[in-house]
């Protein structure tokens, strides 16, 4: 069965993943809202997932896609715990600004 990789070179997928990952990194450095920082982390995870899937299809090896499945499960766990922590921080500090969360800094 022919996939898109027979017409689109794998380098395009590499480029797309690198760009998406960099946008995620930029968001983490750019924004002060902790929820948006979380979303940018999700973006980075998705860029890696996309590349794993592309190479798994290229090599005809199912292990890469199994790994993507595990990454998705870990991302779901991470978001559940992280958002619970954020809600607790908001209940105590009345803000999710990461500038205010500096009690453990020094």
């Amino acid at each position: 069965m022919n996939s898109i990789l027979s017409v689109v070179p794998i380098e395009y997928y590499l480029g797309l993943s690198v760009i998406l990952f960099t946008i995620g990194v930029m968001g983490v450095l750019f924004r002060r809202n902790a929820i948006i920082v979380f979303m940018c982390i999700e973006l980075m995870l998705n860029a890696v997932n996309l590349l794993l899937t592309a190479f798994s299809t290229l090599h005809g090896e199912a292990g890469g896609q199994v790994m993507v499945f595990f990454i998705m499960a870990v991302a779901a766990a991470e978001v559940a715990v992280g958002l619970a922590i954020l809600v607790m921080i908001y209940n105590n500090l009345r803000t999710v600004d990461i500038k205010e969360m500096n009690k453990l800094k020094w």
Binding site: T22, L50, A73, A76
Partner: protein
Amino acid sequence: MLNQNLPFMILATLSVFSALMVVLSRKPVHSVLYLIFCFFTIGGHYLLLNAQFLFAVHIIVYAGAIMVLFLFTLMFINLNKELEPHKSNLVKAAATIVAGTLLLVMVSTVTDTGNIFPTQVSQNEVGTVAVLGKKLYGDYVLPFELTSILLLAAMVGAVMIGKKNTES
């Protein structure tokens, strides 16, 4: 050639655009909506790559579960009433430089590797539920079970962290 590339190009443009809008839009709710859109375009990439199982899991987990969690939290703590204070221009410039340098490093690494990728695309059928199910319950059965324990622990942890402290 260009015509065959067209689905990939459209999806890639939409992905990059919506990812940029996640970072750049002022209101958090707009960011979440753009992120949902970005996840759907990435799901489209999975379909193009013949990974039907991953497409289904991706839509269910990300668009179905994680994004609902984000939207729910956002409405729970009601962030839209005030716009967040933005970082100083110095920090913004530094963030852009760091991200640009990272992009440069990764792109140059990829271009320096040369032609190590196989030119012939494998004809194996890997993305279907049948193949991945055999793999998941065969070679990867221990990590699969450990993942279930991880999810259980995360669920208990989220409930424990989220509940109100009544003793003190």
